[in-house]
Symmetry: D2
Subunit: 360 residues, 4 copies
């Protein structure tokens, strides 16, 4: 877990800038003999791809992934992992040449411009450079590999709040998630959000969102008890996604208002196996998975690129104003759903490998 690498035994190192020739990642620690194709990875990239509806950026990126190493045909001719590092690359296609004048010198409020300049004394300002959400494409690609490491685990995500508008959880229907451009499990809310976001988009404004990710089929016993707890690593993973400002597990912040009686999940035996009567724990107790569904939520702030002029300073320390033109997501939270799924997959693949190294 450092700089551009995520994970401990199953590790991903991402590289590349928004407007460079390509972006990429190296997936290291992947077990051998796992069948994997570019198409399988592409499937998840297509969910995150820009330009799939009017509610996301209109940048046109096919986001075609290529596997450059780490795979080889097995005796049956099926391409499988070899245990060597898997290098994935995506060429950048739609880096429009344009004048970066204002952005090159001034710091867009809410963006990483000021902090990158403070830390490094230089920044690739083209499209946000390294701090662009474009980097998350490689997380999704790596997450697709991670899913294959833990095939018994099923991971899915949904948008549960856009701006001030939450879904009605009693209407939750996973099948609806693919029926609207928001990954929304509540058909009615999706309708409402479409209207709301059209208004936001036309106003050149933006809005935040809350995403919920769940993983079922997680065996009991994943996670380390003190540091590198499963919930800790999930929180770390979600918080590493650009624009995320909060994360919670199970009942989350609502647990603060509960009594001990209401919060602690009672246990029974069902079909000969331990069964919990509720899941306020979100599938994690003492940092270790219980075998229940793991549930995490995270909040994404509104896109900082907006058409309203904002007060800021430039790199020479002069006060100025800035408007961020360009092709931006009115709600980056939407495309954060497949990214959140990918991060969950990375954490669970990593802890599954760690778990193997922990058994006596």
């Amino acid at each position: 877990m450092s700089q551009n690498t995520f994970g401990r035994l199953f590790r991903v190192t991402t590289w590349g800038e928004s407007h460079g020739a390509m972006i990429g990642c190296v997936v290291d620690g992947c077990p051998p003999l796992i069948p994997i194709t570019e198409a399988e990875i592409q499937h998840f990239l297509d969910k995150r791809k820009p330009g799939t509806s009017r509610f996301t950026t209109q940048r046109r990126e096919p986001d075609e992934v290529k596997i450059m190493s780490g795979v080889f045909p097995n005796d049956a001719g099926v391409q499988v992992t070899t245990g060597a590092p898997i290098s994935l690359i995506i060429e950048n296609k739609d880096q429009r040449s344009k004048d970066y004048g204002a952005i090159a010198d001034s710091f867009r409020p809410g963006h990483a411009d000021f902090t990158y300049q403070s830390k490094y004394g230089i920044r690739d300002y083209r499209g946000g450079g390294r701090s662009s959400a474009r980097e998350t494409a490689m997380r999704v690609a790596a997450g697709a590999v991670a899913r294959k490491v833990v095939p018994q685990i099923s991971i899915r995500g949904a948008l549960v709040q856009v701006g001030p508008h939450r879904i009605d959880r009693t209407r939750w229907d996973w099948d609806e998630v693919g029926n609207n451009p928001f990954f929304c499990p509540d058909a009615e809310a999706a309708q409402q959000w479409a209207d709301y976001l059209d208004g936001v988009r036309k106003a050149g404004s933006s809005t935040g969102a809350v995403i919920e990710i769940e993983a079922s089929g997680v065996p009991a016993g994943l996670g380390e008890p003190l540091f590198s707890r499963l919930d800790q690593d999930i929180a770390s993973a979600m918080m590493s996604i650009p624009a995320v400002k909060g994360v919670e597990i199970g009942a989350g912040f609502a647990a603060a208002a509960l009594s001990g009686e209401d919060n602690a999940d009672e246990i029974r035996i069902e079909d000969g196996k331990p069964s919990f009567l509720s899941n306020n724990a979100g599938g994690v107790l003492g940092g270790i998975s219980t075998g229940q569904t793991v549930v995490a939520r995270f909040a994404v702030k509104p896109t900082s690129s907006i058409l309203t002029p904002r007060r800021t300073i430039d790199k020479h320390g002069r006060e100025t104003e800035i408007v961020t033109k360009g092709r931006h997501d009115p709600c980056v939270g939407i495309r954060a759903v497949p990214v959140g799924e990918a991060m969950m997959a990375l954490v669970l693949a990593d802890h599954s490998l760690r778990r193997r190294g922990q058994i006596g």
Copy 2:
């Protein structure tokens, strides 16, 4: 960040069980020549110490820390760090001998009993063993050392919600924090909480809480931009505290409902230096500190040890009921305040050292 070690350059490894002879930690990576005494560490331990009011566990632990290594008198005779690992120990004094019958075999709902047994096939059930919140004493001790590594940074915490009762932020007064047994910055709320918690305690129940930690004097440029972001590592740190279920930075979950205009903190020049007009970012942009006050909040679930019988199973897979007698905190969130401060100190000390290794 692994198992029992937290941090990368400034690292803490904790060890010990609730009812063993002693608990301890090793602080590694501490720079040399920093004056440090047992009394300075004790000061913070005393804030976390059990039994200081009727609202915390009545276990009587003096929690006296001893420095076993890593310090030596400098030429002026002042005890300073030498760069060698600092070993700290605390002897356990009040491990009452008692019959652990029920707890030894049955899993207390909400506790780590079930998951430890699932993961390890054995657990030290005496007082929760390794999963006891007693371990956090060593975090507080290590945090006291961390504070000395970043003397220009000031870290303080407060309880902002107990059960459903939040403070009124307009009444926030840091000076009040030391005037009540709750680290509450709102004198009126503290009054209300005392009544509320007396009821909870007498009912043998428990309740959750929300803690807010802020760090001022943090220079711009701390944190790594993709992974090991400052906010990510703070989230990871807070989520590693037992019973924490959610964490947020700056505006946190509320950011989801904001517009881009309202959320992004505008920048001006004041006294020749960059100055932000608001702090929704909580002092972090793009994973890197802005120079503003760093603000984090985390939610603690209600203590799972309660007097009401709860349904559960034992380690033989039989259904049973359990009542957790003993000397428990009705609201563990209270004593989590100094722990949260310590975790913030550990993250900032670590990132301060990392920062030095990043400059060109």
Copy 3:
């Protein structure tokens, strides 16, 4: 692998100074349910203990180890590991009070005095402080735990050279190793060394040595192929022992003079299993164990504490002379044998756990 921690999944963090109250270590990542007693650890400590013959330092240290955490009786009442960190301590008993005048200010040639002062600006000069070989007692203790993690692997070591005097490998007899104070497998050489070392000792001089460690029962497949190779990690482990200046695997430096025909170990099938016709590889090919005996050798320089006055400087930058009085080993290489065995055990335990996390 950092500062005071060795290993990746099976990790040891050592702490303490030569003349402090105690030294200790924390063993983290040890799988649960492994029976372990203080007596089992003590067995290996007794091999390294000072004062067992006239050829080692006359400091009187019982080196009694105590287990402070991480163990608990299983259902059968046998003390086993719990998966929690194992804290081991040894109290220092024979730190003679004495005047450290000269050593406190002047840098003993060949010792770490000059470099500690350069790096840290301070040093605990009492008996070498943190740089004392006393630290290796904790490696031996941790190594004893590591051996229990890989019970199918047998590790043993021998001294094969003292000063310019090598053993005759045709006389190698493992049973002789316990029959002389040198861990020497060649009875005749042991005789010769005794005379030689008596001369060295009486002259107040010292001499170097070469140690050979072998591990049998190592399964094929341990080690990572590029970095963290098995031979790389063994080299790293041995080189981390104070005073070691060289390390080699299998044929080692002699391999440079061989032809490809003579060096590459041919393979046959014996009893249905792969069998190598020679072992120039020392049990490692491409960084991964072959299943053959793993063989490593390392060279220890002569003790730098000698009675002959040596030219040096003091911490004020003044030229001076120094004589290192005290109770020193004329050949520290002797007591390095159990230390080398312990380091081999630590590497193999770590890689055995890593191996589990690598299988598809």
Copy 4:
């Protein structure tokens, strides 16, 4: 230090196979604002490039490196590092299509074939796949970046032994190193080696070698005292190079035969600075640099690819014979010189960054 990543603060992750489309590496942790061009990296790659004389493999690889990320023009228009990960790639050009029949199934003695198959159950056998020395091209590329991080340190290497033939150290002349195809500092020895290697090559045989690397300008204080010692990390680095079987620092194995008087380097003051009268320590005491020249040597075994038929087994467990045809180095030790230099640069860049994080 794990699997395919080397280093702690300055980290390199290599990827790619001998006969894939490309090989590459990601350099992470490089400080910003360092001017770097492809030509500067190419300079070192050209020293390692195959086919530069009849004494190395005749594979024709231009080994042209491209920088894919992590650089940007500064205000003066000079391309500098940005602090973002630096992705370097080299396309493979001369992967001759051929029949891999025998190699695909049988294990070449001395190669990693058997161990890769044991560990992973599959291997990319084309040209050795991941275990090919081709991977070291990326180490050389990364090492070129590392050199720019520590511009005050000068690193150079030489071949000091080929087969049984050593140089005469009294004839050592660094200027000769570029005058012969062996990086040999002794013109006479180079002559002798040419004849010797012609014989080896014509016989379809191979031979080993010893390489010496020195680094001058290393400040005192680099290295950590217990684990991650400077000499330990150098040993680890050199041992991670394919085919290396031994490594030593300073006097190395010869130190075993020395007396304490002869071995310990005395210290004087010269020009107001500490000055050592000898350098048996090889620039490292107690794991920390002394400020003297750091000196390391490592032994490379003979190339395992030879024309003489060797006994081996195939992956079905059948006994067979194998001849390794193809374009091989009769002495891989020659091209190991720039690789050893690169590994030294990686270690010193890493420790220089670590050093900054250690100062009080």
